[in-house]
Symmetry: C2
Subunit: 163 residues, 2 copies
Amino acid sequence: MTEDVVRALGLLCLGTHLKRLGERLQSETDTVIAARGLAISASQYPYLACLDRLGPLTLGELAEAVGVSQPGATRTVNALVGQGVLAAEPAPDDQRRKIVALSAEGRRLVAIGRAEIWPRIAAAVGDLCADLDGPILDQLNAIEDRLRQKPLAERAPPPSGKD
Amino acid sequence: MTEDVVRALGLLCLGTHLKRLGERLQSETDTVIAARGLAISASQYPYLACLDRLGPLTLGELAEAVGVSQPGATRTVNALVGQGVLAAEPAPDDQRRKIVALSAEGRRLVAIGRAEIWPRIAAAVGDLCADLDGPILDQLNAIEDRLRQKPLAERAPPPSGKD
DNA sequence: ACGGATTATATAACGGATTATGTAAACGGA
DNA sequence: TCCGTTTACATAATCCGTTATATAATCCGT
């Protein structure tokens, strides 16, 4: 079995193709994160990064900034609150709103991420995509082929013992 | 709220970004399909196309050709069998295997797709991606911006009344 | 001041991906 | 021939996205 049908169908299945690669990349990113012993998944990171960048937000603002639906954000925020990574408080001026912020544990995780993990992931993904050009379908194909050849974890620079 | 955090984080959230756009594209493709009154979703189409191209396959072969996990394929195949679109029979030479093929209804849907839908979707997606070049992140951003500006359904050529 | 319209989030339902595991069938070496 | 190993698919569990709806809070025109 050698035919990859989604690839053969080209633009017709672009959505499916994007999703497929996205799932794959998130999964491989999770592998790099888990190797450091952290329990944050690739899909949760944008929430932490967002609150780190923008400070406390309402749930709706967070959903918008991350680019997901409100119920999706509600669920992820609830999970992260349960993990002690985020804190959610009622807004002082509007009882409908909930203000979400990084907890102390969340700030600790962000600090570790900044120092040890996110640069490695960015470098690995950068290596994965290096020098790619041309139509998006070709790039998706190339990235998939490169991943098959060498997983993301092997592309990440080794954790630096120093500095 | 103007900042799109996933976009701002660049390569670090490439997986999330790919998934986001893939979800969006599939959703907009579903809109075009539904306008024709068909009940096949964008994510199901690769299964039909695969069986149309390659003929009857075992469930495992189908999963591999579409690029999904076996349980994922099992579920989608079961749903499509339930819709009468696919037919699944035990293999004659191996009781563990199940052979999946298009049903008569499935072939009818494929014929309609070929004649009326898939060319329109491919054209719409082609229009969406036209002339894009450069790093994949830039292309993702551009596609998202273009979709926001003009949905896929408005990019598809009108259904041809004649030929 | 009142109340219909709007807003913010929670919840329900559904779709769809994965890994892990279970069960049965098939394989192949001793 | 026997049986440990492998294979194919079903099932379970988990995660995560969406739309629709419910509920409560807030807004603002009358």
